[in-house]
């Protein structure tokens, strides 16, 4: 009870670099996908799959090189980010390979080409970008110089799919651009670029946004002139929604902005305003765009909608997919049917990209789904921990923005696939088939690792205070 007994001394801990922990987990993260690969092979063909050794070596090589570069260039980085990303990427490859083996999916296409080798190539490019970012971005604060340039770049990237001749309309959503044989989803890269802009902008403007406000009905309302940026972002995300028919991307950008505003200003009013604006925008757009309408119908009651929707219409396709996905999750049960033994290939189109989580749900069951969600959760937790530990406000906001974007993306995809919210065409980071997504997410992890390295690096000893001498003299 006494004051004296409660006193504690708080001292800094000499921080280990934890690179060996990372190596151990990384080994684990390579072995698990190889095990999964073996399991799929045995379940489908009854024999050990031929590519197992090569596949395991390939994944191990990528992970090993990444580890060595982290050890050299980001010694104090967080030990969990790299193994978690590697494991998710590896398991994603196995799941895509598993769907490649499905006779139903092969029969859907006249010329079927397996997606797994492409995804392996994209993963390699992603890891290469990861390495480049770690090697050349020595200090994340350099990015602060490009605040307004990154705003322009982000807006250009977001609006690029609308350029005639460049943008490609793939099944309703115009989020792709086509350059030669490649199609790229610029939104995935814009996610990172716009986080840089938000952090740089909010770092400068946070005080104006937080303090110059009037109180009204218990909410702090910002001044009219401070509303400019949030209105602009809202308008841009509505533009994406209206012209690109992409609910996911617009939700991601607007949500990310609201999260970062809240973190920078600590004002709940931003969240309330953000939610109101998002709901308002969604309702208005939802009542016009047919693409969105069919998604909403498929969300509200997929089985009813499948019966009533006109044959061979877009709506029928959307509802059919949704029913298959729900059946898939349902037949998985608690423990799942086992890898390679489910029927999630009935989903057909986009089974290995937007709906890959349904395969997890069917073949690994609720237990597996929870493990996957926890792994994503751990990545997000490490990102937010990095943000808490970062010593500079720009790094704090950037880490928060990147992990917020990651979290939102997972919420939007997982929630959409499980029928919690209307489905939006986004990819599960690392897991789903899609080059842009894998490459962009590896870059995102690289930036988080760079910030966490700076944050966890032991601080240099503080300079001796000039005031100290004054009080430490013995006077006669």
């Amino acid at each position: 009870m006494s004051v004296v007994t409660n006193t504690t001394t708080i001292g800094a801990i000499e921080l280990p670099s934890r690179r060996n922990t990372e190596l151990l987990l990384l080994g684990f993260a390579v072995v698990i996908p190889v095990f999964a690969y073996l399991n799929v092979g045995l379940a489908i063909d009854g024999k050990v799959p031929p590519g197992m050794l090569g596949y395991g070596l390939g994944l191990g090589l990528l992970a090993g090189v990444a580890h060595l570069v982290v050890r050299k260039f980001a010694k104090y980085a967080d030990p969990l980010l790299l193994p978690l990303a590697t494991l998710l990427n590896g398991l994603g490859l196995v799941l895509i390979w598993r769907l490649d083996q499905s006779p139903r999916i092969i029969a859907r296409y006249k010329t079927f080409s397996p997606d797994a080798p492409n995804q392996l190539m994209y993963s390699a490019i992603g890891v290469a970008l990861f390495l480049l970012v770690l090697m050349f971005l020595k200090d994340h604060r350099v990015l602060q110089r490009f605040t307004y340039i990154s705003m322009m770049v982000a807006i250009v990237l977001l609006l690029l799919p609308l350029v005639p001749g460049l943008g490609a309309d793939v099944f309703g959503a115009k989020i792709w651009i086509r350059i030669g044989p490649f199609s790229i989803q610029p939104g995935e890269f814009a996610k990172i670029v716009i986080a840089v802009f938000f952090s740089g902008y909010l770092m400068v403007k946070r005080d104006a946004l937080a303090l110059a406000s009037r109180r009204f009905l218990g909410l702090y309302l910002p001044r009219g002139r401070d509303l400019g940026p949030i209105l602009t972002i809202w308008a841009v995300s509505l533009l994406i929604l209206v012209f690109e028919n992409d609910l996911g991307t617009s939700l991601l950008f607007f949500g990310m902005f609201v999260i970062m505003l809240y973190v920078a200003t600590e004002r709940t009013s931003w969240i309330v305003m953000g939610l109101l604006m998002a709901v308002g925008g969604a309702v208005v757009v939802g009542s016009f765009a047919t693409h969105v309408q069919s998604r909403v119908a498929a969300w509200l009651d997929p089985f009813e909608c499948l019966k009533t929707a006109p044959e061979r219409s877009n709506m029928a396709a959307a509802c059919d997919q949704m029913t298959q996905v729900l059946m898939s999750f349902g037949s998985g049960g608690v423990l799942g049917t086992g890898l390679g033994q489910g029927n999630s290939d009935l989903i057909g189109f986009a089974a290995n990209s937007d709906f890959i989580f349904a395969t997890v749900g069917e073949e690994l069951g609720l237990t597996g789904v929870m493990a996957f969600l926890l792994m994503y959760g751990l990545i997000i937790e490490r990102g937010i921990r990095t943000s808490l530990a970062a010593r500079d406000p720009f790094g704090k906001l950037l880490a928060m923005g990147l992990s917020g974007a990651f979290a939102l993306q997972i919420f939007v995809v997982a929630g959409g696939v499980m029928g919690l919210i209307p489905l939006t065409g986004m990819t599960m980071p690392f897991l789903a088939y899609g080059g842009s997504s894998v490459i962009a997410n590896w870059a995102l992890i690289a930036i988080l690792i760079r910030i966490s390295d700076t944050a966890r690096r032991p601080a240099p000893a503080p300079a001796p205070s000039p005031d100290a001498e004054m009080t430490q003299v013995v006077r006669p």
């Binding site: 007994t5 001394t9 490490r382």
Partner: protein
Amino acid sequence: MSELTLTVMRLGFLAVLWLFVIVAVQVIRSDLFGTRVTQRGSRRQDTRPQQNARQAAPATPPQQRGQQGGGRQRRGAPTKLVVSEGTLTGTTVALQGQTITLGRAHDSTIVLDDDYASSRHARIYPDRDGQWIVEDLGSTNGTYLDRTRLTTPTPIPLGAPIRIGKTVIELRK
């Protein structure tokens, strides 16, 4: 491939997946970094238990009254006193309306183990409005608020360093 093998593999795979998650969470647990908290003063309590009891007993009732007084705790008022430099770095004392005495004397609230401090060096107490005041008790080397030596009882701004010898104290929210 036999049904049994596949079942074992399926359950084994889930187990391995969860094992990874659990190991990762363990890493986080062992990776809580930043500061280490060591309990102090247990020794002091052993040697002088009666003194502490005596100190604590009269101090408790006014603390509670102060908390329940309602409205007296202004917004932005400091809630704790933190030693930010010196041998007692990291010590915190909750501010609950009691007077805090500082000095080398054993019955001070904060016993300074500092050659430059006097036995009854200074005290920190709240005035009638709840504003915290620091007063030098005629010490040899003086008490400094920010960089000025105190001559009269002075209100303490939030976060302003109070220097006593090698020790620096500040009030925080």
